[in-house]
Symmetry: C2
Subunit: 120 residues, 2 copies
DNA sequence: AAAAATAATAGTAATCATTACTATTTATTT
DNA sequence: AAATAAATAGTAATGATTACTATTATTTTT
């Protein structure tokens, strides 16, 4: 993977926020630095970065959002404002499903859906 | 909501399987009973049935899959064959996130991703 | 049972996010 | 500086889903 100003900008943008942005959000932000950057470039780089395990993809309904936090963690999703927030809960179901279902678990995705603290 | 043969067929199809089918899978199956049923009809009814809480929608990556099991449960997703299987795990994080984040949890979506028992 | 009212359908067009394509540009190696 | 090939911009294509509309089917009213 060769250096490019576009990729560098995309990485910086993702690392600068905790909102788990969409490709389009990243694209609009990137255009402030590189006005003629292409949306295809954003998608191509996001895919590349995911393959290289530098970011991860979260499917929020039907749109993809991107996460620079590569530690194991879960999410709170607010039904009202749509925000997605990190939290880390303690659990271990991998051994359970191995024993009960002979299922080899690689990862566990957990999203808690409800109303966030802003709406009180 | 008025009766229709199309909706009845769609409900029957969903209740007849545990595979969490996609709209297109349901459509192809429905055509065996109603050859000129429209894909739009399938989507319209699936949306209606979800609103009436008769089925639920699971977003599997970028495609929607439908679930007739309305009990609270979790899923095992196999990376190899793509199968989605029900299981019910015991946990309670709703009180935790209320206390720690002042977040009112309505539901928790948990998917355990890995390799299912078929591939041993 | 026929007429009126209106929900639901079939078929097709439109939308939206994402991916594919390709000529050109840019980074890296020689 | 020239050669090599990865990355880009711009645009076309794709695939899932939704919107639209004239027609059909179900339910209600007479
Ligand atoms: Mn996160
Ligand atoms: Mn299920
Ligand atoms: Zn909120
Ligand atoms: Zn499998």
């Amino acid at each position: 993977m060769r250096f490019s100003q576009q990729r560098e900008t995309i990485i910086n943008i993702i690392h600068s926020t905790k909102i788990h942005p969409t490709a389009d959000w990243i694209y609009r932000k990137a255009k402030k630095y590189i006005p003629n950057i292409s949306l295809g470039t954003v998608y191509r780089n996001l895919k590349q970065l995911e393959q290289d395990q530098l970011i991860s993809t979260i499917f929020d309904g039907s749109v993809a959002r991107f996460d620079s936090n590569m530690e194991r963690h879960d999410h709170l999703k607010c039904k009202i404002c749509g925000s997605l927030t990190d939290l880390t809960l303690d659990y271990d179901f991998k051994s359970t499903v191995k024993q009960k279902f002979n299922f080899i678990a690689d990862e566990i995705e957990m999203t808690i859906i409800g109303t966030c603290s802003k709406h009180n």
